[in-house]
């Protein structure tokens, strides 16, 4: 009886702590594993892909920068130098931003439509962990994976160059702003 109890106690104390977590996508040998860490937003930056673009293909790519709040330590602490597998590839971090959006405001540096600088009608495309963009109403949504795409549904009054100012307010009333590079938008 005594031996069994000792064995039970020791088994519990020295029980193995190693279990493998799931990663974001199924992968093969040599392909980096994608995993997710949660972040809170500190800064945003808006990018435009080209100097000149026609309106219907134009979108702003909004990148998020921030501070990590929960860390997937299984993947973030992996070290290929200790792995005997010659195809070992370091896992690839995907950043998920937890801030919930209250408001997104975009304005141009000159009148965009109907003599106003504010862009009234936008569509937000949120990226998921499989790198697919889905359109969603932004209110109450978490920022999610970086980057986000913002599309203007309205045409400008005339073809010209614009610089856009993007302002995001989160549910804790933090305000994040950025300016895009100048872009010539054709109607």
């Amino acid at each position: 009886m005594k031996k069994e109890l000792i064995f039970l106690a020791l088994s519990i104390i020295f029980v193995s702590c190693s279990k493998y977590p799931e990663h974001d996508e199924p992968v093969g040998d040599g392909t980096p594993v994608f995993y997710t860490n949660n972040y809170v937003l500190e800064e945003i930056s808006g990018k435009v892909k080209k100097d000149t673009i026609i309106h219907k293909t134009y979108y702003i790519e909004l990148d998020f920068l921030g501070n990590i709040v929960t860390e997937n330590t299984y993947y973030s602490t992996q070290d290929c130098s200790k792995d005997p597998n010659p195809y070992c590839a370091l896992p690839y971090e995907q950043k998920y931003f937890l801030n919930k959006i209250k408001k997104i405001e975009i304005s141009a540096n000159k009148p965009y439509r109907n003599q106003t600088q504010e862009i009234a009608d936008i569509k937000c495309f949120f990226r998921n962990k499989a790198h697919i963009y889905n359109e969603k109403a932004y209110y109450g949504e978490e920022l999610g994976y970086s980057p986000m795409h913002i599309v203007f549904t309205e045409l400008p009054d005339s073809s010209q160059s614009f610089i856009f100012k993007i302002k995001i307010t989160d549910d804790n009333n933090n305000i994040f702003t950025c300016l895009t590079d100048s872009v010539y938008i054709e109607k």
């Binding site: 000792i6 279990k19 799931e22 809170v40 937003l41 860390e71 997937n72 299984y74 973030s76």
Partner: protein
Amino acid sequence: MKKVLIILAFLLMNIVAFSQTANSKLSLELSVGKLFSPYRFYKNHTGYENINLGLAIDMTDKVGISVSQSYSRAYSQISNNRILVMLTSINPYITFFPENKINLRISAGTGLLYFYTKSLYESYPLSDHVFGIPIHGNIAVFYNINDNVAINLNFDSHYSFLFNKTYKLIINDKYYFKTCFNSVNLGLRYRF
């Protein structure tokens, strides 16, 4: 939570009542030390103080049962996250060499793990209450100063199965839901 506390209180009362009828000895233990979080999801958290309060009842010279409550803290510099870990457990135990000046006690049990996790970024405060069921193991060495007082050195480990997620945890993996904390404590035992 309320139900669990009522059950624990009920068990404690039963143990005390049983101990009185069985002519057993009651002892109170208080120890302080350090928490270690070397494995799994919280392995980048540095453990700080650990305080352990226990009530032990010897049913016979060698066998008994203890109820323990521990508090500890850990902090991760990487994620600027602090956790408060509280463990309540009931542990049957066996004492080896009870007649000697130095005794060894091995106990194992279960109870309730509660921890409060808080992100310390002021711009976007996040916090959560997390519950789990632990498997708790403890090895304690006692040095008896006299019949009533002993110095104890505890090695403690709990492997816990967590119920709920922290924040919107999209790390949907077993690595998080089973977590492990260890501690080493030094303290005193008083036998009534």
